[in-house]
Symmetry: C2
């Protein structure tokens, strides 16, 4: 093990240089014009797996972006890890808010800035480099491992369920490891045991067949942007509680034990608010901020568009208005059922003066595991060795729908082994990754394989 | 007069060909990238005035787009008409909804399709061609006339007030004629005696310093798009009445006589609704559709933007949300006072969880004249001669803020002498002008000069 850690320390700078190349590929899965880049990122990932010494490396086509597969299965009698990550990234708009170009990785103050640095290329690369250290140094790994890196995570992993069902044999394992989550805070490594799910919709409202002159027709027909505003305004009450009937029916209440544990965490609400640049925090009344983002469902508008949005003043009465609306779900809410409730509610409150179209964009189930799972405990020991302190056990507000898929389809327990930080702007301008955490994360990954081998 | 009308009839097709050239210039004043085209349209207008035989034709610079001036003042003892129009046009988005390109004028079924066809190049050109007919045919006009064609009408005529004050002597006249309004319906020529005013605003809401991941932070901070929706939803009650305190204080009530006259107009509400493609008409309760658009103030959202509006699903919690909001005002509302009321109301209802910025974009006062004004009666006779039937007297829902400016600064009565049709898509895709009305409008304009000469 010492030789492996020495190798990781010696090659620290080279690892960062290679990561920069990976981050230079604009693999934005949400934008069709980047489909070539997405494919290029898949090939780059496969090459990196081959360089590390993995076997059977290949791109497996899906109806969307290819999956990158590779394995090392030469540890008979030892457990098999299925490692999941993604090589696609979020869009970069508004690009003018980036300090350095999103696809020219730049190191400032020990952090590497680029789209995908934290979410998820940096964390995928951390595992590839831990494996390289083992295979270059001793020629073997203490466990069996399969890599499964997809290219559609940022667009809802639309083909993943079918893929997993069709490739059960290629994915046979004992535990799923994912590094796509954040630590609780700088210097506070953590293991995450629950994630929120997602239900994402688009609402399109049409008031007339084409845009109208607001002087000539203003006052005679419903304004679709106002109707949309009225619909959205009826989604939450003043206390931040979602008004969709039945929305909270399946929510698993927070346990007193969890609430008590979380109160002990080093959470500074003032700093949190200032970091976000928010005039005031706001959420469901009766819950703390951590409880709101980890264990309570929420509803957000992700996008709005209607009429004229350029500079100046166009006196148009728009024909249409559009909103993207998503809900974060918690155990035991079901995205399908929530979708039905949402759709029924929107139809009920929408006036007859407009046409309303509701499109279900994608959804993912929330997920939760138990603290005393042996793999989770192994991960705790690995974190302690990589970061020099034992982790705290936390939930996360984000969604990794594949966790639920792998549990359902393959019966696999999951270990969420993330080294991002909460202020690393995963879906915003100036995304970054702390290079100290990247380095310690490689060491912790190396220990993780050994700890899982010993379970 | 017969010779003038003969000339107009003989040159009918050439007039349309020339109009097509005018409509080919994309003089969109709202978009800075078209500033060269705006200038080009000004020069084209000046050339057309020179060709028609007018004197002293020149471009007069303003801090924005130039004014085109020209005159013919050789009818001593006769009244002087100040003719006002504009050579700038609205933007063309969404351009994919145009049947033919907006700046390649195309004739289909007796109508010419292009941006600016009705609003206002086609109607300006109608007067230029009436003057050409007089001056080419007999060498003189029965009245004195000054042309004043501006290039900033579609962006609120921002420099017009100052310009009029600075050029009082150049604009000295007895009556203002404007052709920028529509007839009541196809085959129902009309004279308009009142216009609505305008107060236009932009609201910018900020919830955090940058876009956030909606999974990680959803539930902890106010969503600016939802806050904006809540603000907009509080603008009107369910009966379509505007909730801004004091908004209706200065509204001049409809007279019983007007309401009775309008009930006699050939207005088909079902056809109107179907033409607009609206599922249902909607407006302030207690008023008919005509009353709502002509004589009642209204509030519309002209544009909305927040977060991610592309294809697909981006899980962003937006930092900002923007709405463009405008009110159509009626006599005797004042845009400045309404702006103060609007701003105070938005500040009052906005929560402390966001920063709100309100920008006053532009405003114009509503206008009203009396039926029995001698110039209005002269216009009625001219319409009768050009269109073969006497006009109806109507109001219009749109705003021509310059009418109030000319009344205030120069003490001029106004005649609104418009030949557009209500379905001509003035601010929308597929703007068009009926060529029969264009032709009859040239003849009616020629009669108008004679009728005014005889007042």
């Amino acid at each position: 093990m010492n030789a492996v850690v020495d190798y990781i320390n010696v090659h620290r700078d080279r690892y960062v240089d290679e990561l920069k190349q990976y981050l230079a590929i604009p693999s934005i899965s949400a934008l069709p014009e980047h489909s070539g880049d997405v494919r290029r990122a898949a090939e780059w990932t496969a090459d990196a797996l081959r360089t590390a010494g993995m076997n059977n490396v290949r791109l497996i086509d899906t109806p969307g972006n290819p999956v990158v597969y590779g394995d090392w299965l030469n540890a008979p009698g030892k457990p098999t890890i299925l490692f999941y990550g993604h090589y696609d990234v979020q869009p970069v708009d508004p690009v003018n808010l980036w300090t350095s170009p999103p696809f020219e990785a730049t190191v400032r103050d020990g952090e590497i800035y680029a789209r995908g640095a934290a979410d998820d290329k940096g964390q995928v690369f951390m595992h590839i480099k831990a494996i390289e250290a083992y295979l270059k140094q001793g020629g073997s790994l203490p466990v069996n491992i399969r890599f499964f890196i997809e290219g559609e995570e940022e667009v809802g992993s639309v083909h993943l369920d079918d893929f997993v069902r069709a490739h059960r044999d290629d994915l046979k394992a004992d535990v799923l490891v994912i590094s796509d989550t954040t630590m609780f805070d700088r210097g506070v490594p953590s293991i995450c045991y629950s994630l929120r799910g997602l239900a994402y919709f688009q609402i399109d409202v049409r008031g007339s067949k084409s845009d109208l002159h607001s002087g000539v027709f203003g006052g005679a027909v419903a304004n679709p942007a106002i109707v949309l505003a009225q619909i959205l305004a009826q989604m939450k009450d003043r206390g931040g509680r979602i008004k969709i009937p039945g929305f909270y029916d399946d929510v698993r209440p927070l346990s007193d034990e969890e609430r008590a544990e979380w109160k002990k965490l080093p959470f500074n609400e003032t700093r949190y608010r200032k970091d976000l640049g928010a005039p005031k925090l706001f959420g469901e009344s009766g819950y703390t901020t951590l409880e709101r983002v980890w264990a309570r469902p929420t509803l957000d508008v992700n996008g709005l568009h209607s009429g004229f949005t350029g500079e100046g003043a166009k006196t148009v009465l728009p024909a249409t208005a559009m909103a993207k609306v998503s809900m974060r779900l918690v155990p035991n809410q079901d995205p399908q059922k929530i979708g039905d409730l949402f759709e029924a509610y929107v139809r009920k409150i929408a006036p007859k003066t407009v046409e309303v179209k509701i499109t279900r964009m994608h959804g993912g189930k929330p997920w939760m595991t138990e603290f005393d799972n042996k793999f989770v405990r192994a991960a705790g020991r690995a974190i302690e060795q990589g970061f020099g302190k034992s982790p705290v056990f936390v939930r996360e507000g984000g969604s990794i729908p594949v966790v639920a898929t792998f549990e359902r389809e393959l019966g696999l327990p999951s270990v969420l082994f993330g080294v991002g930080l909460p202020d690393e702007n995963a879906h915003a301008p100036d995304e970054k990754l702390d290079l100290g955490n990247f380095h310690n994360g490689i060491i912790a990954s190396a220990y993780l394989y050994q700890e899982i081998a010993n379970t």
